[in-house]
Symmetry: C2
Subunit: 136 residues, 2 copies
DNA sequence: CAGGATCCCATTCGATACTG
DNA sequence: CAGTATCGAATGGGATCCTG
């Protein structure tokens, strides 16, 4: 019995957490929007639909895999639409949906906040790191 | 030479990405705020300072390690203050800084958006998943 | 009670190669 | 050009034990 309690504890904790996740809209959205690349991609599409290749260039550093994967997630959540034009070769564009567009003001607000407070954050980091070094 | 290009490519890509990260305030902030637990913790402290133990209970599912680790990150970024009261046993409280407080309206906006649009997202997911299943 | 240190598993992400 | 599949490295995060 004692040998099982560890695994069980873990399983139960996960259930509690999952239940919380399921009932917490904010965490759901954060999980998508706070993703490493999602924000960048949404921002890159803010001014209109973009093509796969364009996004790859615009969002410097993203791998092809993560580009596709992130776009799929955003599409699944209804924030982005994928449009296929039957040409040769086939052309695919990604753009914001109505829902995605309503999210942009918040992202922009976050961006604005970030730009106006990044200095304070950097200072805080420096003094924090400095205090650590001095504490010896 | 050819054998080195792979590693070099990677190194260069990372440099480009790091340079971008260093110059993109939004990503810096997102990296902190979009963290798995940071948002929950900030929210838990919104109504006033809380103690370590309290936070651990309030934010269901967080491990002791991640609690401490996340608090350290938030403290380093100057969003949270750690206050030690010299009592026996020692009492430690965490609260928002002025800077942290200015971020809350945005988090609240995100929370509000999430709560009012989570239904659409869920619907989008269902229809997306449904389309996948039907596509066979 | 607060939290540092360690071990270890699960997930993430990138590089590469291949299909339509 | 757009996208899929696979493998390996890196990271995140949890359980446990231990200290002030």
């Amino acid at each position: 019995m004692a040998t099982k309690s560890a695994a069980q504890r873990r399983a139960e904790a996960k259930i509690v957490y999952d239940a919380f996740m399921a009932t917490c809209p904010t965490r759901q959205v954060m999980a998508t929007v706070g993703d490493k690349w999602a924000g960048l991609l949404l921002n890159a599409m803010a001014d209109g639909p973009r093509r796969h290749g364009q996004l790859r260039v615009t969002v410097a550093g993203i791998s092809q895999k993560m580009l596709t994967q992130t776009l799929r997630t955003l599409e699944r959540d209804g924030l982005v639409v994928r449009t296929v034009e039957a040409s040769v070769p086939v052309t695919v564009t990604y753009g914001l949906t109505e829902l995605g567009a309503t999210l942009m003001p918040i992202l922009r607000a976050l961006k604005t906040w970030s730009e106006s407070h990044i200095g304070e954050i950097m200072d805080a980091r420096d003094s924090y790191d400095g205090a650590m070094a001095t504490a010896s």
